[in-house]
Symmetry: C2
């Protein structure tokens, strides 16, 4: 079976609209994928669901798609943030990709005491999230936030949002969420997941997190997980118990 190319666009999507292609999209569609006039493409913009587009103008550096019909409605993920301490480039890209596939609504790189990297290529991470959504068939693209200090984020924590703190210090403890702490509101309200850097959290950070009433601590089994593995595992547990995998 032929697989349709799938493109993200900033433009509004509705029947009859014409969507101009970016230069690299035109290169990809016509140069790499050899699409021709009349060929179909899947389109999404993170807001209007998924639509079918037809090539109505094509040359090497430009092209126009005409939007024909909607193929899927917008599927919003739950209101879940993934907070993580940036690590090496390849693994940071991986975390962004996995967070997109696993249905995080927002990706927040945070500086912790043991974070090695204080430079985050936010724009590149956002492009990576778009590519991940293109590939995994998503209709939504999580926003990648600017790098923030963990301490400052906790100082200004938004009312009503719960935080699932994945603590390497808990290795070997039971891994189910302690739902006894959660009220009906917490179960359906907004959440965030916090994954630590390779060196773990500092004692000071762990103590502060443990003392906050919006924090639930969570063990991720008896083995040490890399940050990218921990992200997928934590997102799985959360989606399964509180999110849209229920």
């Amino acid at each position: 079976m032929a697989v349709l190319s799938r493109l993200y666009t900033d433009h509004p999507l509705a029947q009859g609209h014409n969507i101009p292609l970016e230069r690299d999209q035109a290169h990809y569609l016509f140069g790499v994928m050899r699409r021709k006039l009349g060929d179909e493409v899947e389109l999404f913009n993170g807001r209007d669901g998924e639509w079918r587009g037809k090539v109505v103008h094509a040359n090497k550096h430009r092209g126009i798609l005409e939007v024909t019909h909607q193929t899927r409605p917008l599927q919003m993920p739950p209101d879940l943030w993934l907070m993580f301490a940036p690590i090496k480039k390849a693994r940071t890209d991986f975390i962004v990709e996995k967070a997109t596939e696993m249905g995080a609504a927002r990706i927040v790189p945070v500086m912790t005491e043991y974070t090695n990297s204080d430079r985050v290529r936010q724009e590149k991470m956002q492009i990576h999230a778009v590519e991940a959504a293109e590939q995994c068939g998503g209709t939504y693209v999580p926003e990648v936030a600017e790098l923030q200090k963990l301490d400052r984020m906790l100082d200004n924590w938004p009312d009503g949002r719960q935080l699932l703190f994945c603590d390497e210090g808990l290795i070997g403890r039971p891994t189910g969420l302690d739902q006894s702490k959660l009220t009906a509101v917490n179960k359906t309200g907004p959440w965030a997941i916090l994954i630590g850097p390779e060196g773990g959290f500092s004692e000071k950070e762990r103590n502060r997190l443990a003392s906050l009433d919006f924090v639930t601590t969570q063990s991720l089994g008896p083995r040490i997980l890399r940050a990218d593995t921990a992200a997928v595992a934590a997102l799985t547990l959360w989606q399964r118990e509180l999110g849209d995998w229920k």
Copy 2:
């Protein structure tokens, strides 16, 4: 804090034993990590737990470690196989790494109807599992099996082993294991997880799997997951409900 280097060795580990280093281990320890006589190293062999070793001989291409004392017992993972259809090299390596971290006992590459790759570098995958165990602090290294045909494996399926079949065709169904099908024996007995190739399973394969009484089908949420993401998510669900994360 200084982090100890961690090495896998084929040799038996017990107090007073001398462990000769491979050429690349000597290069890594003395050339890259600048370890000197008397420096300590962590050692494991997948059988005897984790031991502390001390450098008692070092030159550019050779070295000997003396085993001083045990630091951790062997921690066996549950009797769980991860079966997956090989994909591109980088993602296949990733699946091997993640299966090691997440506590699979055996990794089995399988050929399915839609598997693109019929060549598997089994030896390189095994080396990758060793490196993953070195990095994640594991004391056990999963065995990487030879590439096998899915059909033939199902023909000769071992008595008493259950198979968790992660079926992309179930997208959107509830993701909890249907434990009503599982007896007390199944809950503690050996298992395997089967992850599909990028193109999914064929209709014929899906029908056959659904008809087998040792198979439990499992959905992995409402979004399409890449094979490597699906592997971590399925291992998380299994470890949480039936394995050593309980």
